[in-house]
Point group: D2
Chain length 302, copies 4
């Protein structure tokens, strides 16, 4: 048991196991979520459950949040019509680590608001999914001051195994959305290649093996093959359940396109990928793993 | 010096060094190309230069070809308005290895014509570029009978280091076009992600490093970064000269789309990639390395 | 009854009513199709049915063909492995009008072959669908010599109401594929706008009416609205039956993309449209009217 | 001179001539813009120039605004960090007509805020460009209550000739963004078809004429041909100057995509169009008319 007190706000599929890993590592964790079941799960592993977000941060040196979207995070820290924000009550020097995936501009807004109150704020979105959250093998992409990141290392390394300093405030979010836009493209591009190969009579496993050792090599081919029967333990092996939902990929592509439109940075493949996942979601596949997008390309009945 | 006689037709940027590697390995190589300079280079390394393709195959157990496109290969082996094809004169049992990148249907046509004359025909397109051809580190993707491939191993392993059996006749070409379509997508998708990241203030090297260790990882990020200054020894480091020309990528994408249209296999990202390289080529960049497509995305003057 | 003899080869959904219109107009029509039922329908309206294509052209001043694809047309006129072509038996001066939709290069090949035999050859693909074929309101896009087109007018005007001279041999086909590629884009683009509008709470009829009078105006909005309930008499009003099948649109887009790839003319929206219709066809909608592509964009159950 | 008092806020390229038309029609116009030159032009035609937006609305029955983007409009009416909004000072019953092109959600927010203060608020974006603004031939797409639109008719008909009631609050903006997204697609699609036709040897005027009378017909072909030399009086006839700038089209496509992403309405062609205009703008063409996007498709030097 260390004597560092951590507040953890947001105990969903990702936040829950992350908070548990901190509790297991001996930190004093004061956790909060609106959902009582989520709280109960975390409590079983030694975290203390607070009655509110404001109660959770009481006495905490470090505040960590893992929430669905920009507006939740802004409401939590900066306040909303119905409640004041946490930033107003935090003592100077508190380290705030937001692990949610939100817009870079939103992260920058938080950092600026934090700075004016002498808080140290980091954006630290993750990749690695619920499996990575549980196994404490997440990748953190961090934006903010080096000094703040140095303080954060102690806790981040209990939840993940790769910690990257992407740059200043918002840079963690920027890196995350670039990476996930690219992932969204890799999945559809790889699906197109595998499906075209199959239509030409190739065996999907043989083709995947060849491309993995050629210039088509990529993470999807190596770790997340979308064709059922090629790889074990991936969503394609279990009817595309679990994994990273199509609607979550759509959320991340939405953030990427919003940034791209604002910056006038052309993303033709990224934009098309977004449209294709949207059509796939509109057909009722929003909760299936995003690798199910392969089905859009397949002849009916395949 | 082995006592195996090999005919080698087509001594261009790829075929030249491949023939030289065979000559160096001690095979008796009878080579032919319409271009005298190309012939002279190969002759320096011990190959015998024949006066014609027909003369080159005289007495050869194995015939290898490396030509620009389907119609050249069909004209060589099956004949044209002006000349009969080589297949008509070859003794039964001759092994024919076509290393050109051509349409799978064209390769199947050759294989069928060969079979009816008791020839063993393989399609064996390569990846690895001129560097791989020179260093004998090419990847061969082979379509045809296993028995023929067994015979071919002896010579293929002197020109490359990976030899994949993709399937029946035409399967080598099918695998090649799937891989190269995917490569064409990876290059643009990676360029979009890196350019978007830069527009958001990220350092391209830092972002490339993060994505290489995340779910955006792919061959382009690891081996062929398109942003000048990030990686040494790649075309981006020398003004996009050398490498794999935009027009060559366009040719391969054209083959992939032709196959996709025929098979009714949707390739939305592949089709868009083809259009983007076409626009890039139309702007005068056809001879630059295909990684120069990044420039299409960049603000003017970048 | 005029004393002009016309051979008509190909009596399908388009060719049948076209041949009937010529027979009704008093021309001596000698018709042929491999399908006996198709022949019988045409015979009812006064055409003479021949036993073969070769018998049909016996004594004809004008030969008209309406066949599915390039290879059928080339086989008919230039011959195949199993039969010699009609061109070899036609008397000099015969006017040949091919109304099929085929590749411009194929039309040019026919024209050149015809010229060397002193035949007058026109490519004259149509638009207007089966309704236009029946009502004799087709549009003809004609490629070839002006003098030949002058001779053709007499018969074309009995089958259609707009006759355009697009240019030299192949130009009719070129114009047709440009138009149909654009039509394929208009249909998807209009569907996207209408569907987006509906998702934002607009009434599809109101929005269609506004856009028809604004800069979004186009043929699809005015004549072929894809939203059920907005317009009467269109395929959308009858479950997308009848009309112009998705697979026929795919065939035309395939010709356009083939030409675009050969010419290095970028067609990013055309290429994407092709991919989307291919995905729609792969989902089992190949025989539905192409306006059913709207369904790809709609939320499930809509 | 009527005795109706109108406040007009925003006197740019569009707002200026609109305000002038109202002044010429005899309304008492109290105008305001931050730019003194813009104000002076309007003053010449009889409008009274106010010192501030707040001064302009003093005594006005009707308030009209024409501003660049959502945040300007929201700041004007709802207030910002530096100034309270106009809504707080307006007497109940005032009619507010916002002609800016903004997000539908932003228009709905204004309408709701207005309703709570008993103001009648309409969103009434326009199409027709500066030429239409000057000639009083604009098209208005109006969202809001019918009763409010009835009151607005009197002034709208002095500025435009088509007035459409699109639906409830925000519906005018929704219709506008659907129409302009479709226009953005029509321009690129038509450019692809014309450029492909030219590459196949067709004359652009001949092809445009054929398609205008066929199923490819659309507003761009009829009113705004992008190929220089085909049509007089369009931007293509004067080096793509004037007209509707690429960056303005990009702004409208940005609004459309934002709405599409939020609604999960797939817009694959719209998204690709956005990317292509962004690339065109990134190449330094943001201020050229949007029909200059044709150049992206043309071979260099064309």
């Amino acid at each position: 048991m260390t004597d560092i007190s951590i507040a953890f706000i947001g105990l969903g599929n990702m936040g829950g196991p992350m908070a548990i890993n901190l509790a297991k590592a001996g930190f004093r964790v004061q956790a909060f979520d609106l959902d009582a079941t989520a709280c109960a799960l975390v409590a079983e592993h030694g975290a203390h459950i607070a009655d509110s977000a404001r109660a959770a941060v009481e006495g905490a040196e470090i505040v960590i949040s893992m929430l669905p979207a920009s507006h939740h995070v802004e409401a939590l820290y900066l306040g909303s019509d119905t409640a004041p924000g946490l930033f107003d009550g935090l003592p100077a020097g508190t380290l705030v680590i937001d692990c949610s995936t939100i817009a870079p501009t939103s992260a920058q807004k938080l950092a600026a608001a934090g700075e004016s109150r002498s808080l140290a704020v980091l954006d630290a979105p993750v990749s690695g999914g619920t499996a990575g959250a549980t196994a404490a093998t997440l990748t953190f992409m961090v934006g903010g001051e080096s000094s703040a990141l140095k303080r954060a290392h102690l806790v981040l390394e209990r939840m993940g195994k790769n910690i990257f300093h992407a740059g200043d405030a918002g840079a963690g979010q920027a890196a995350k959305l670039c990476n996930n836009m690219l992932l969204g493209i890799l999945m559809i591009g790889t699906s197109e290649a595998l499906n075209l190969g199959q239509s030409l009579g190739l065996d999907a496993s043989v083709l995947a093996n060849i491309m993995t050792k050629s210039s088509g090599a990529n993470w999807v081919l190596e770790k997340y093959n979308p064709v059922p029967g090629v790889m074990e333990g991936v969503p394609a092996a279990r009817g595309y359940s679990g994994g990273f939902g199509t609607d979550l990929m759509l959320k991340d592509l939405g953030l990427a396109l919003e940034a791209a439109i604002t910056q006038r940075a052309p993303v033709p493949l990224g934009g098309l990928a977004e449209s294709l996942y949207a059509a796939h979601s509109a057909s009722g596949n929003g909760l299936l793993d995003f690798s199910s997008v392969l089905r859009m390309l397949q002849p009916r009945g395949a």
